[in-house]
């Protein structure tokens, strides 16, 4: 079946929905999602969305701008960071007007709390900048934007899995999908395509990410020859529930929770004397792993405690109800009475599809754009988060740059001719699917996926080094070869998740390989990327963005300078 829309948006998380609302003012909009819209992973965001509202104490967009730049270890492009922080207040007020049920101060204003790396007076002390709806902020914004999208007449295509994004002669002309329920191929011809497909945490074994976060669209675009930027920078959130990786919001520390080691020491005092437990995530994750490596985990084991016992019970009840439930259900403890065992969990991709500040996808490090193709949200790299994202800045990123992409799309429509995706292109995709469906190989999707996730976690997470990663790259190459000999059990047409997981596996391998190769070539430590063999940040050689390209000779790298407008790189201390 063939569809025609002015704009096709892949992904129904916050970036996709915010863009959809905007683009719907200019023409018809289709939103494709491999889940149901309200199931997108934005809904799992807990702690808040940042803006210098000053509802609780003095704050300024300029401090926010500084914190974001420093939090990202000076790799973020400062023109983009400034755009985001300057637009933050307007964005939150707009969300409130659209119906988002933010938690309130006693006077009825939007309540705010402390979050990692957000400070007043350029690092002097933590500041209340995180606007929240208890610990379900993503969920609250998600529903408001979904409801508004429906009001704006956006067409939703739930459970449509993207198989190909068609880029022809430097121009994107639409998307080829499979309707999961029927197994039928649906082609969407579009004047503009926005990729807002979210993250790819499932490349790692322990992750806070949903099963759906497999990086399909990044992998598809990479295969067409388009670059991926800064893929070596992947954030490990310090407080994943031990053994499960389920996220325990940084808001827990924002409300007064502290981290303690096996000797009952508040160890963050050592690593970040000024803001302690509210240091940026990369530093806290490294601190936890260091404590564990040096034998100071709880009972010498591989976890530490997040201790909320000193936090007022009423605050836990009102502001952290969801994580309290998680703790009760999954590990059988009440955080008011017992400390929570935690370990870093793969959480957020700073890298992704390179874009300009209007969501236009870049085809090279020089800034040339791909006509008709846009990206926003976690899958994109603007780059505002640099080498390490601050908590609460991801939701802000999705809404600010989702809206900007929607406006840019609207303006681009009148100059873009509609072009049909050729039957040939569609047939090629159908052949691939048929090939997989009839494959008689001996390799199993689940086995290869689990092997990939395990080696990525072991060799390319919080601490990295050359020898490990060289081994990793070799192992990924072997997994890639083996993945050509897959055999799947389900040969049916309808709702074939066996097939879809096998397609996702290909993307995970592809993305894992780019992460590993990008990490291997960056011989310095910056933000989330920590090299044991090169532990120092090297601005002279590495103050630049990595652009990875797939070529006939393998993956090749080029570089783009960092845009520095306001804050000169300085030593990162907290």
């Amino acid at each position: 079946m063939t569809h025609y829309f002015d704009t096709v948006i892949i992904g129904s998380g916050l970036a996709g929905l915010r863009a959809a609302i905007e683009a719907s003012k200019y023409g018809s909009v289709a939103v494709l999602t491999k889940l149901y819209p309200t199931r997108s992973h934005s809904t799992a965001a807990q702690g808040g969305i940042s803006a210098a509202l000053e509802n609780e104490e003095p704050d300024s967009p300029e401090w926010h701008f500084y914190d974001t730049t420093k939090g990202g270890d000076f790799l973020g492009d400062q023109d983009a960071i400034e755009v985001m922080c300057e637009d933050a207040i307007r964005t939150i007020i707009e969300l409130e007007h659209l119906g988002v049920p933010f938690s309130r101060t006693p006077e009825g204003k939007i309540a705010q709390r402390r979050f990692g790396g957000h400070t007043r007076d350029f690092g002097a002390a933590p500041v209340r900048r995180a606007c929240y709806s208890a610990d379900r902020t993503g969920h609250a914004i998600m529903f408001a934007l979904f409801e508004q999208s429906e009001l704006h007449g956006v067409h939703f295509f739930p459970e449509f899995h993207v198989l190909d994004i068609v880029v022809k002669n430097g121009k994107c002309i639409g998307v080829i999908t499979i309707e999961i329920k029927s197994g039928e191929i649906h082609t969407f011809n579009a004047r503009a395509t926005l990729v807002a497909s979210g993250g790819y945490g499932k490349v790692f074994k322990t992750t806070s990410n949903a099963f759906a976060s497999t990086g399909d669209c990044l992998s598809i675009l990479f295969n067409t020859g388009l670059p991926l930027e800064d893929m070596e920078f992947f954030q490990f959130h310090p407080t994943g529930l031990y053994g499960l990786g389920i996220l325990i919001t940084e808001g827990a520390r924002g409300e007064g929770g502290i981290l303690i080691n096996g000797k009952n020491e508040r160890f963050m005092e050592k690593y970040a004397p000024t803001i302690k437990d509210l240091a940026p995530r990369d530093m806290v994750s490294r601190a936890i792993m260091t404590e564990i490596r040096e034998g100071r985990g709880i009972d010498g084991k591989d976890y530490v405690y997040l201790d909320l016992r000193a936090v007022d019970k009423k605050i836990i009840e009102e502001r952290l109800p969801e994580i309290t439930t998680f703790c009760k259900i999954y590990i059988g403890i009440d955080p008011s009475d017992a400390p929570i065992p935690v370990l870093p969990t793969a959480h957020y991709a700073m890298g992704g599809i390179p874009t300009d500040i209007d969501g236009k996808v870049l085809k090279d490090e020089k800034g040339s754009v791909v006509e008709g193709l846009f990206a926003a949200g976690e899958c994109a790299c603007v780059s505002v988060h640099g080498a390490n994202r601050l908590g609460c800045n991801s939701l802000l990123d999705t809404v600010v740059f989702g809206r900007r992409a929607g406006i840019a799309i609207g303006k681009s429509l009148k100059d873009t001719e509609k072009q049909d995706i050729s039957k040939n292109t569609v047939d090629k995709v159908i052949n691939n699917i048929d090939g997989l469906l009839n494959a008689q190989g001996k390799e199993k999707t689940a086995t290869l996926r689990s092997e990939l996730q395990t080696i990525m976690m072991d060799k390319c997470s919080v601490f990295r080094n050359e020898a490990d990663m060289e081994g990793l790259v070799k192992e990924i190459t072997i997994i890639k070869e083996r993945s050509k000999r897959l055999g799947i059990k389900d040969r049916g047409k309808k709702f074939n998740t066996d097939l879809l997981e096998s397609i996702e596996l290909g993307h995970l391998i592809n993305v894992g390989e780019v992460i590993a190769l990008s990490a291997l070539q960056r011989r310095e430590s910056r933000g989330s990327h920590y090299r044991e063999d090169f532990p120092i940040r090297d601005d002279e050689n590495w103050l630049k963005h990595t652009f990875a390209f797939k070529t006939e000779r393998g993956v090749e790298f080029r570089y783009k300078p960092v845009t520095i407008t306001r804050f000169k790189p300085e030593e990162r201390k907290y």
């Binding site: 309200t38 199931r39 007007h97 009825g108 408001a144 949903a210 999954y330 689940a446 309808k494």
Partner: protein, 232 residues
């Protein structure tokens, strides 16, 4: 590790004329989730077993099904709290697509009837609309709904009348009617007091019993009923 038995109601639309029970045995840690059991079966025994999943911690609402006779999320069901045999069926009252996957369109489409968005045509203030914590408290439970469908699927009134709005859509109506920032109460009330609306709720409380977010849905609906009697 301990052995657990899964009895699963399966249906392949391309092969079966009616659903069939299949049994699987898997070894699991007692602290694992029922969802982990399903994944283990799919990965090691039968790759064609079909079910929805995404966040795996009770916030996306994908994996609702009937678990030992009672609707809930398999990602929130810990094995040690269950008997050794775990019986899984698709959500009742929605059309089955395959195995444990049902068509959720009839469920989501009910929402549209209650105008599920904040309506306020007054010129917005420069800053946020003021809402006291007490006023926000009135909608606090209702905003935690994840739209998993457990409630509507468990409702006997819905079983007999597929046009009935159902608990989830009524809860959505409540969420906006009791939001002090909203201005469309009368219009929404008119929409929900129709033949297939509010009065079809006979306070059976099945929805409350199954809601994985522990929302007291029936009491919310009762408040709507009281308001409808008073206003209309």
């Amino acid at each position: 590790m301990k052995k657990y038995f899964f009895r699963i109601k399966r249906f392949d639309p391309e092969k079966d004329s009616s659903p069939q029970w299949k049994e699987f045995t898997v070894e699991m840690e007692p602290t694992e989730r029922a969802l982990d059991g399903l994944i283990k079966i799919k990965e090691t025994i039968d790759g064609s077993l079909t079910f929805r999943k995404s966040c795996a911690h009770g916030i996306c609402g994908s994996c609702a099904m009937k678990i030992n006779g009672k609707n809930g999320l398999v990602c929130q069901t810990i094995i040690k709290d269950m008997p050794d045999t775990i019986t899984l069926e698709p959500l009742q009252a929605f059309p089955v697509i395959k195995d444990l996957v049902v068509d959720m369109d009839p469920f989501f489409s009910k929402n549209e009837l209650v105008l599920p968005y904040l309506i306020n045509n007054e010129p917005p203030p420069e800053r946020e609309r003021i809402q006291s914590p007490e006023d926000q408290g009135k909608i606090l439970q209702s905003i935690t709904c994840v739209m998993c469908g457990s409630c509507t699927s468990s409702c006997p009134s819905y079983w007999t009348d597929k046009k009935y709005l159902g608990p989830s859509a009524l809860l959505k109506a409540y969420r906006f009617i009791f939001d002090t920032r909203d201005r469309a109460t009368d219009e929404r009330l008119k929409r929900i007091i129709t033949h297939h609306g509010l009065w079809r709720c006979h306070s059976i409380y099945n929805c409350v019993e199954v809601c994985p977010k522990e929302i007291d849905i029936t009491s919310h609906i009762s408040k709507l009923k009281r308001m409808a009697v008073r206003k209309l």
